[in-house]
Structures are given as C-alpha cells and as structure tokens.
Chain length 150, copies 2
C-alpha cells in the first residue's frame, strides 16, 4: 500500500446517511484460520460431529469473524484508513454457516463535530435477515489535522 494513498475520509467529507457495503463469503477454511489466530477453538466452529449435536445442527462461523468484516468495511472503505476505532456494539442474531455470503453495510448515523466521533450503524445480513447488528464509534481526523496526523 502506498502510504500517501492510504487515506480515508476526513470528518469534513462525511455526512449523515453516507454508506458503504461489501459482501463476504465464509469459506470452510476460514473457520480453522480464525480459530488459529483468535485461539477461539470452541468446537461449535471446528468439530462437525460435535456441532451436529447442538441446536445449530452443524458448524457455525465465529461471531467475531462477522464482527471483523464490519471492521474491514470501516477500516478500508468508510471512513477508511486514518480513522480510529473507538467502540462497537454487537448483537448476534443468527448463526452464519460455511458457504454463506453475507453483506455488511455501514452507514453514518451521527457526527459529533466537537469531538470528531462518528457513529455508524453496522449490519451484517444474509438475504433479508440481519445476522448481526450494532453500532460503531470511530474517531475521524479533520482535514485541518493534516494528512499524516492519524
């Protein structure tokens, strides 16, 4: 990545209603990969025989993997690089499975001009169903702070 291009939106460039959307498909190998890096080896994600005995009747993706898709959209698209993640609420509503293609949509809900904190709604959907929703709080630099400030 070219450092000079790795620059998301400034606070002045954001308006309530601005949105970004991206789709993610859960590959079978992603569950083992996420388990390895997170150390979250809960068998519901890794052991099909065990998972079949649960209410889910099969392996499900880590909830935090879906949450990380939200982070991906925030950190690469809206507001993009340079913004600082301050908070996130997560409501896990339905389980996502191997092969599912989910759509993450983030939308600017509020902008605090004084603090630079931007609140975004964050939803991860499968078809018309919300699988995970919540809100993000992101600190967004001002253009006046300079391009290299954050």
């Amino acid at each position: 990545v070219d450092a000079t291009s790795a620059r998301g939106r400034y606070l002045e460039d954001l308006a309530v209603g601005d949105a970004a959307e991206r789709s993610f498909t859960v590959a079978e190998g992603d569950l083992a990969a996420f388990a390895a890096v997170s150390h979250d080896t809960n068998p519901i994600h890794l052991d099909e025989a065990y998972a079949q005995t649960t209410v889910f009747k099969g392996r499900i993706a880590h909830g935090m993997m879906l949450a990380s898709y939200i982070s991906a959209v925030l950190g690469t698209e809206l507001p993009g690089p340079g913004s600082v993640y301050a908070g996130q609420t997560l409501n896990f509503k339905r389980a996502v499975r191997i092969g599912d293609t989910v759509v993450v949509r983030v939308a600017v809900k509020a902008i605090d001009e004084k603090t630079g904190v931007v609140t975004l709604t964050t939803v991860c959907s499968l078809g018309r169903k919300a699988m995970l929703d919540g809100e993000a709080k992101v600190l967004v630099p001002r253009r006046a702070d300079g391009a290299g400030a954050a």
Copy 2:
C-alpha cells in the same frame, strides 16, 4: 475434540463473581493472518512505513483480534462450549502492538434465571492498563435442557 467432553458450564453452575483469565501474545504473523481471514487490510495493521506516519507510530493489532480473544475465553472456558453468544460491547481504549502479551479476564456480573442470559464483564489488559473493555451477553443452557441441547 470429544463431543461428550465439549461441554461448558450450565446455568445452574454459574454464580456472580465467577471469573476466568487467559493471556495471549500478539505475534507478528497474527496481523497478516487476521487481515487475511477478516479481509480487514487497513494498512495500520500491515504496512509499517504507513503506520509510522500515523499517531500510532507503528503497526497495531486489529481491535477485533483482541475482541476475538474475549470470544475465545467465553467459548472455551467461561461459560464454555454450549453457550450461545448473544451480544458484546467493545470500548477500544488503547492500541495493542506486536509482541504485547495481553490478559483477558471475563467475570459473571449478572444471571437472568428467567431467560438464561448471563452478563459478563470482559476486559483485555496490558499490565495494569485496560486496552479494551466491555460486556458480553451469553445464553447459557440449563442442566434440565439436556447435555446435547445447545
């Protein structure tokens, strides 16, 4: 994992104040691995030259990687396998870097006997500093529901 042993605590086994703690060290390769599985390729995590130009003065771990450590403790230790992740709040307070060893502590704050929802405080610390805190909500099966119910 033996399906019969993959069984965390039941609601009846939990009491306010119960806690679990585990430490995690962020290896350099973890940042690229987390970026690959999450698709979160924000250069603050991957590009040292870019990261040096930011307020962080170097690469930092994905906030959601720390959040996934919380999920690891919830999903493997307290309450452990069989519990269902219903929600999490995350307050990102300080950046974690390559080589840092953080300690995640989860503690039972409240138990709703009617709904089976258990609230836990969740803190990720480096030394005496909280790097990430928040609360988890987890649905915990009752012993009466049967060992294979969740």
